[in-house]
């Protein structure tokens, strides 16, 4: 998020797109509802489904799946056409405006209506509302990003914020709602193939040298970025990848095209799973290492508003499991120990894997990472700090891009609308959309073991539009079979009027009804994110 949870209620207009916030980020949705109910903010909701937030929306746009860029280009067109843009902001704080203007000159609301199915008057009304607000903020989640043109989708939203100057003030900005508790932190900590901590690029020689010296290594960090999780699985099948070390993840359930992942993990030469449960991935591993739950460990998580917060141990370590930090340090020592049993001579044991505690690891991170350089456990107690926080006396940064953008000027991106990788056709006439439920989490590992939550929602259902179901003579509870080009899943139908015609909605919480057997391997060319929100399927009564 460029902004903070605490300033959501200060927006005059909220545009929420591709986020079922009340189910996936419930506590943030409370702030959104507060903005509408207590402060009179207007809410533009963009979602094909009639989700709970529709009750709070001033405008609810229901686009055909995967047509986001057409919609936002047309809103930009209407903002320019009607002189609702912030000319001063465009002039002083942005670049590439002329190329952008040229690129969208034919993107009229009528053009977008033909593509998205949203009436052109509603597109103009949304542009008016967003363009004329004193402060307008945009929120999104996987509905925007999990697309074969996810980067374009995000940039089309950034273009709208640049056009109207909605940056750097409370109640404005671009606010992606991050999924997992520490997905922000995993990215911040170098858990990506192209960057080390704090988004320092591996392609930058100065960065590599800094880390090589600090870590006291003799191996060189490669200058070439590594490959992503989807590419790693393909790499196993191609024979390029021989070993995977997986900590706290279950790609067997969360990755697209499960059959493909199973094939890869079956074939792999060496697989390690470090987890608290023997999940579907662990069952295929050669070694399983038991780590501990959040309640047993010390450390930090970074939330969606970039706030680094302390995690404190409340329980002793479970049975003979070990703290994950200790497991990794133990591995580090064994890998670098010159007395080890391997014949390897390349690695020299210079790096120190004897940390006093988690806070000592944090201090090493801070010393190498400018965006969190000013943070220590002492300062993070009790309320955490938002990065960037470059020095020990810096108060942290609740709002980004105040006087200038990180890159200097904000850059407009000219975008051309592209269709999703797989649209419905005669053979597969339905769109499969996937997402989450309030009561369950991700692959269900945690929530299905929690009695109360599992009692409320004990099984995965396949949601289907009630009129479509009636045409097929299907009632709620009947078994239906959903087939895509990649797999078949059978489950109980749940009829709903909240879905548009010809859309099926499934979650990936339930291993018995695994949506990702059906989803495709199409990914965004830059972000490599899979297209989970649009797959073509057919539906039959069993």
């Amino acid at each position: 998020m460029t902004n903070s949870i605490a300033d959501i209620h200060l927006a005059d207009v909220l545009m929420i797109t591709g986020s079922n916030t009340t189910e996936a980020h419930p506590v943030i949705s409370l702030e959104m509802k507060k903005a509408v109910r207590q402060h009179g903010a207007k809410l533009i909701l963009v979602d094909p489904r009639e989700i709970e937030l529709a009750e709070f929306a001033t405008l609810h746009l229901r686009p055909r799946s995967g047509t986001d860029v057409a919609l936002y280009n047309a809103m930009a067109h209407a903002i320019l056409e009607n002189a609702w843009a912030n000319d001063e902001f465009i002039k002083t704080r942005t670049e590439n405006f002329d190329a952008f203007k040229e690129a969208i000159k034919d993107c009229t609301p009528q053009w977008a209506e033909d593509i998205t199915g949203i009436p052109s008057e509603m597109i103009v009304e949304a542009a008016h509302m967003y363009g004329q607000a004193r402060s307008a903020s945009i929120f999104w989640a996987m509905g925007i990003t999990q697309s074969s043109h996810g980067v374009d989708n995000v940039q089309s939203l950034a273009n709208l914020a640049l056009l109207t100057g909605n940056f750097g003030r409370p109640g404005t900005g671009l606010n992606p709602l991050r999924g997992q508790n520490n997905v922000q932190g995993a990215c911040d900590m170098g858990g990506l193939p192209n960057v080390i901590t704090g988004y320092q690029a591996v392609t930058d020689e100065a960065v590599r040298t800094k880390f090589e010296n600090a870590w006291g290594m003799s191996v060189k960090i490669p200058a070439k970025p590594g490959i992503t999780v989807t590419e790693l699985m393909q790499g196993v099948l191609d024979g390029r990848v021989k070993a995977l070390y997986i900590m706290g993840e279950n790609p067997m359930l969360s990755d697209p095209n499960t059959n493909h992942v199973a094939e890869a993990l079956n074939e792999i030469e060496f697989l390690v799973s470090q987890d608290i449960f023997l999940n579907e991935t662990g069952q295929m591993a050669h070694v399983v290492l038991p780590g501990v739950s959040f309640a047993e460990k010390e450390g930090t998580y970074t939330n969606t508003e970039r706030r680094v917060q302390l995690v404190r141990p409340a329980l002793p370590t479970h049975a003979d499991a070990k703290l994950d930090l200790d497991i990794i340090c133990d591995l580090g020592r064994r890998l670098t120990n010159s007395n080890g049993k391997t014949s390897d001579a390349v690695i020299h044991p210079v790096s120190d894997w004897n940390y006093k505690d988690a806070s000592a690891v944090w201090d090493e991170i801070a010393s190498l990472t400018p965006i969190v350089a000013g943070m220590s456990y002492q300062r993070l107690n009790p309320n955490g700090l938002q990065w960037p926080c470059p020095t020990a006396d810096h108060p942290g940064t609740p709002i980004l891009h105040k006087e200038k953008f990180t890159r200097g000027l904000g850059k407009f991106t000219p975008l051309v609308f592209r269709e999703p990788a797989e649209n419905p056709d005669e053979e597969y006439p339905f769109v499969l959309n996937t997402g989450r439920l309030l009561q369950h989490w991700h692959g269900g590992t945690l929530t299905r073991r929690s009695e109360g939550l599992d009692w409320v929602v004990p099984e995965g259902e396949i949601q289907i539009n009630d009129e479509d179901a009636q045409e097929m003579n299907v009632s709620s509870g009947d078994l239906i079979r959903v087939t895509s080009r990649r797999g078949v899943v059978t489950g109980k139908a749940k009829l709903t009027s909240k879905l548009p015609r010809r859309m099926i909605f499934m979650t990936f919480h339930f291993v018995e009804v695994p949506a990702n057997k059906l989803t495709g391997a199409a990914v965004d060319p830059i972000a490599k994110i899979p297209e989970y929100k649009v797959s073509a399927v057919k539906v039959e009564r069993v």
Partner: protein, 137 residues
């Protein structure tokens, strides 16, 4: 009246909102979960997962010891055995096929410190940038 042994303030393990929790502990069990009103992200609010979704901590099927595959079956092993095997195999594979034949998946559920150290092993010890996690999923 039942009273907790201690209350520990920490951060919720579910979504990216980062709600602050008070775990009420009695006899090493999470008895109930509340949230302080002055919590920066959630002001004392919690969702149904954040308040009630903790039975997994005490689940009977938690892993209690390392497992190793022998004769195509996962069987209990000592930490020393398991860790030595992991280190040996990773080094063997690295030497035979090169560093980029190994990939590391860090975790959006683990701490910053754990993620940092695992990518340090990948980049600094094995010598590969093949580090990723489920950020996209």
């Amino acid at each position: 009246m039942i009273k907790e042994d201690k209350v520990v303030t920490t951060t919720c393990p579910y979504c990216g909102v980062g709600c602050m929790l008070n775990l009420h502990i009695k006899e090493n069990v999470v008895y109930k979960v509340t949230s302080p009103f002055d919590a920066p992200a959630n002001k004392g609010n919690l969702c149904v997962k954040g308040r009630f979704g903790y039975d997994f901590i005490h689940a009977k099927d938690r892993l209690t010891q390392p497992l190793m595959r022998k004769n195509n079956e996962l069987v209990p092993a000592t930490w020393d055995e398991a860790m030595n095997h992991v280190a040996e195999r990773l080094l063997e594979i690295r030497d035979k096929y090169g560093p980029d034949s190994i990939g590391f998946l860090v975790s959006a559920k683990c701490t910053n410190e754990e993620n940092y150290l695992l990518q340090k092993i990948a980049r600094g010890v094995i010598g590969t940038n093949n580090v990723d996690h489920c950020a996209r999923l």
